[in-house]
């Protein structure tokens, strides 16, 4: 209904009086957050973020002004602001751009989903959350039993003076169940997450009950478990930790805007250099990584980025060798390197920058049992709980919620506070086994940029085996 209400053509005509090119991105996003804790409602909130980013090309420099006033006069005022500021700053521009960085694009995208989220009632969702909270009540030691769902519905329409018209509509679900067991000064948390482009089919009572009970039982098991031992050993990471490993040590260092230095004052630079593409041996020959915006239900699937660039699957790392970076048409023009369609903004009030989308590790040939069978002495870790890496993306330290020792090819006792650390290229060189079946995860909160933006990313991966890694536990 809002699509036609915006006088985009007249506003763009107005902008063209002063700009060589103009674009207008309308974004409307409704985020609903519902949470139940210890069987009581904790949060029922929704927000509507709606407005337009007016973008102009003046003297070879792209500049932006955001407004929530969607009238023609409002859009014209915003374009006038964008033109004035951009003209004033263009003498100091970092690069001379042209309209080539905004190719004309036309098309429509709708999230894959079985059931429209609008058809899912408040009562249905609340019921699922209550079912999970109750299912976690397996012992008095479960001091915190929380179930939450974030439901996002987004419309992004992009129009430009060189004929772009794209309309993309997203349904997104991010569900978290979390159980904390505590006794004395010790406490342990176990969680489950379901994140992706889904509809109302995500709200299945039985799944909430099963997963609720599982995380509660595992939190109790962790409370009774020994600390993870500290030693070098083999490490088998499950997909819900691989997600973080891929995100921090592949996704971010391959962002071309980081390599170009844009992020140096905030998120950081990168150990990857422009001349590394096509040469750098990033990891073992088992390592194949893609940028894949086409994967159905994955969190960051789309047809066009926010500059109108059509999104296609691209291979970033092939048989362990770095091929391609995560850079938009602007970063490609600045660096002379190939990139991907990843020019994305967090909302109507932010300019697009290079972002991860879906960054996936391609499946290999092993079953999980075969991977476990290849380990003499090691540990299997599930679900990220702690993450930290340096500003060049070299020295990382990650912690997980839940781990099991592996001895002589068999899974053994549960251990708590499992952590590991390493250095990116050395670590990926230790990749010795890749599962044949992947699972898909995602997060709503990848932070980057000045001004800062959080964005949704997806990561699919099979379980992966790494040889001889520094593993350690918590304080005794």
């Amino acid at each position: 209904m809002f699509n036609n209400a915006i006088p985009h053509e007249l506003a763009l005509q107005h902008a063209l009086k002063s700009a060589l090119w103009a674009g207008l991105r309308f974004s409307s996003e409704t985020t609903t957050q519902r949470a139940v804790r210890n069987d009581k409602p904790e949060r029922n909130e929704s927000s509507l973020e709606e407005g337009v980013m007016c973008e102009v090309l003046v003297d070879g420099h792209f500049g932006h002004a955001a407004t929530a006033d969607l009238s023609l006069a409002g859009l014209q005022r915003a374009f006038d602001r964008a033109v004035a500021t951009t003209r004033a700053t263009s003498g100091h521009k970092v690069h001379a751009f042209s309209a080539t960085q905004r190719p004309p694009a036309n098309g429509k995208y709708t999230s894959a989903r079985q059931r429209n989220l609008d058809a899912t009632s408040v009562a249905e969702i609340t019921d699922c959350l209550l079912v999970a909270s109750k299912a976690m009540n397996v012992s008095d030691k479960l001091v915190n039993r929380s179930a939450s769902a974030m439901i996002v519905q987004t419309q992004i329409n992009f129009f430009s003076s060189n004929g772009s018209e794209t309309r993309q509509s997203f349904d997104l679900v991010d569900i978290t169940l979390s159980a904390t067991a505590a006794e004395g000064l010790e406490s342990q948390t176990r969680s489950w997450q379901h994140t992706g482009q889904f509809g109302g089919e995500s709200f299945d009572r039985d799944t909430f009950a099963q997963q609720g009970e599982r995380v509660a039982q595992q939190a109790l098991a962790l409370l009774a478990a020994e600390n993870c031992p500290s030693a070098r050993m083999d490490l088998l990471l499950m997909p819900d930790q691989m997600m973080l490993q891929i995100h921090e040590s592949i996704g971010h260092p391959l962002e071309l805007d980081r390599i170009l230095g844009d992020e140096r004052n905030y998120a950081g630079w990168s150990f990857v250099k422009k001349e590394d593409f096509g040469h750098l041996k990033y990891g073992s020959a088992l390592m194949n990584v893609s940028f894949d915006p086409t994967k159905s239900n994955e969190f960051a699937s789309y047809d066009f980025d926010d500059g109108g660039n059509p999104a296609t699957k691209e291979i970033l790392i092939k048989n362990g060798v770095l091929q391609r970076g995560l850079g938009s048409l602007e970063s490609q023009a600045r660096s002379g390197l190939p990139g991907v369609a990843n020019f994305r903004s967090a909302s109507w009030n932010r300019a697009p920058i290079d972002r991860m989308g879906n960054i996936n590790l391609e499946p290999g040939t092993s079953s999980l049992d075969e991977l476990i069978g290849e380990v003499g002495h090691g540990v299997l870790m599930h679900t990220n709980r702690s993450w930290s890496i340096d500003d060049y993306r070299n020295k990382f330290q990650f912690g997980c919620e839940y781990a099991q020792m592996i001895e002589n090819g068999a899974l053994g006792q549960v251990v708590r506070n499992p952590n590991y650390r390493g250095v990116t290229v050395d670590f990926w060189g230790r990749l010795a086994g890749v599962g044949h079946t992947d699972s898909t995860f995602g997060t709503s909160y990848c932070g980057k940029g000045e001004p800062s933006q959080v964005i949704r990313v997806g990561h699919a991966s099979p379980p992966c085996l790494f040889r001889d890694v520094e593993v350690f536990g918590g304080q005794a």
């Binding site: 709606e50 609340t126 067991a181 000064l185 230095g261 250095v423 918590g474």
Partner: protein, 452 residues
């Protein structure tokens, strides 16, 4: 130099708009309903720099209004962007209230609902003298000619306001800028921040000179420091980075009750921190409003840790209701909003001598709890960090990973705090410019643990 883009204009316009839309939506309430309304608004010019040139400039004007409805024991909150047009915004809020009302019908009772009361009326306004938009870039880059400078200028008016159906009314508007930047010599870098309400060219030049001095020190020979435990000096900004972890569950009463607090031992008086450490919430610095989203007004000074002993956790009214505690004006997240750490006695000029041999860290990076139960934190060193030998800076280090319990670093290992403190303004710009900041001294710590 000129007054910022429509400074008084924007604040006055939003205030009149908020008054009108709030009055209308309050008049829509029916018996059995109570309503709390919040507004956040900003008019901001963001300019991003790389290589002392402009990467992106974005002008943002935004107003957001939230309604929190209590209806028959249920609680629903909804917010939306305002267009700025009075008639359409009034209609939009009337529809939003109706949808809150509808939704309340299908929700369970909220037993921890906090009754709406009148916490009074307050108005705080701070105006500034910002650069005109067209003057921002020339003013920043002029002093930095020849520098490889990266960073963000964010300047304009920020607003927070609150009303409720019991007659409560709060208003906070401030006009400020932040230039958060770093400068580079190849991979060597130093960080600075120039913030205030009046742009002053010579202050900016002095600020930049200080950062250039830190960068120049990195031309000394690089030092190879192996993992291990070293006496370490955290400059005020680095100490502020470390204490930033207290925002993450450590001082929250709800986190403590729910088994999520890394400071459980401290909260249950099983342990204490160093007698040198005193931390309070201090709103007299004026960086952020004293009222929270319920319109409750915090005491100007709220002691958190005194002489190493926990005095108060941050308790929101909702937590107080659920766990029968006493609320102290905390925000819903129960994190500090105006953290002020008392100075110590170590004079700035004596820092290197007191450090003797060890590490001098200007900034930390990417902190996270690595073992929450023992309050252990991991993170990296960043920007200007040096190896010091016998009280003399030997040279810069390669960045190191560290992993250390706050019970140690803020406890028995804390040797001294400096007599000088620095304000570390909140520079976050997620969703909107944030307000607030912290004030911290530098800290000398024995045996800080570096792991990689």
């Amino acid at each position: 130099m000129s007054t910022g883009h429509g400074s008084g204009g924007f604040a006055a316009r939003v205030q009149a708009h908020f008054d009108a839309v709030a009055a209308r939506v309050l008049s829509d309430l029916v018996a059995g309903e109570e309503l709390t309304i919040n507004v956040t608004a900003e008019e901001t010019l963001f300019v991003r720099f790389n290589s002392n040139r402009v990467r992106q400039n974005t002008d943002v004007e935004q107003i957001n209004v939230s309604l929190c409805l209590q209806s028959n024991g249920r609680t629903v909150e909804k917010s939306r962007t305002m267009s700025g047009d009075l008639e359409s915004d009034q209609a939009a809020l009337t529809r939003l209230l109706a949808s809150c009302r509808d939704e309340a019908l299908s929700l369970p009772l909220d037993p921890d609902q906090v009754p709406v009361v009148n916490n009074g009326v307050s108005i705080e306004e701070f105006s500034g003298a910002l650069l005109a938009p067209e003057d921002v870039v020339p003013s920043v880059v002029a002093s930095a000619t020849g520098c490889d400078l990266a960073g963000l200028y964010a300047g304009g008016v920020s607003i927070r306001g609150n009303r409720n159906s019991k007659g409560q009314s709060h208003w906070f508007a401030t006009e400020t800028f932040v230039l958060d930047y770093s400068i580079y010599n190849g991979p060597k870098a130093a960080k600075g921040c120039y913030a205030g309400s009046t742009w002053n060219a010579s202050e900016w030049a002095t600020n930049l000179e200080r950062t250039k001095t830190l960068l120049a020190l990195q031309s000394l020979p690089q030092q190879d420091v192996k993992p291990g435990s070293y006496r370490t000096y955290l400059a005020p900004r680095a100490f502020s980075d470390l204490l930033g972890m207290l925002n993450w569950n450590a001082l929250s009463a709800a986190a403590w009750k729910q088994g999520r607090s890394p400071f459980k031992k401290l909260a249950e008086h099983e342990t204490t921190l160093s007698p040198l450490l005193t931390i309070e919430e201090n709103f007299s610095v004026g960086l952020t409003p004293r009222f929270n989203s319920l319109g409750e007004v915090s005491e100007t000074h709220l002691p958190l840790i005194s002489g190493g002993v926990l005095k108060n956790l941050l308790v929101s009214s909702r937590t107080a209701k659920e766990y029968a505690m006493v609320a102290n004006g905390a925000c819903a997240e129960e994190s500090p909003r105006a953290m002020d750490v008392s100075a110590g006695t170590l004079d700035e000029k004596d820092v290197l001598a007191a450090l003797g041999t060890g590490l001098y860290l200007s900034n930390l990076h990417y902190l996270n709890w690595s073992d929450p139960v023992s309050a252990r934190v991991t993170g990296m060193t960043r920007y200007a960090c040096f190896w010091v030998e016998n009280g003399v800076i030997a040279g810069p280090i390669k960045d190191l990973r560290w992993d250390e319990s706050l019970y140690g670093a803020l406890g028995s290992k804390l040797m001294a705090l400096t007599s000088h403190t620095e304000i570390d303004p909140a520079v976050d710009t997620y969703y909107r410019r944030s307000l607030g900041g912290s004030r911290t001294p530098g800290a000398l710590i024995e045996g800080f643990t570096f792991t990689l």
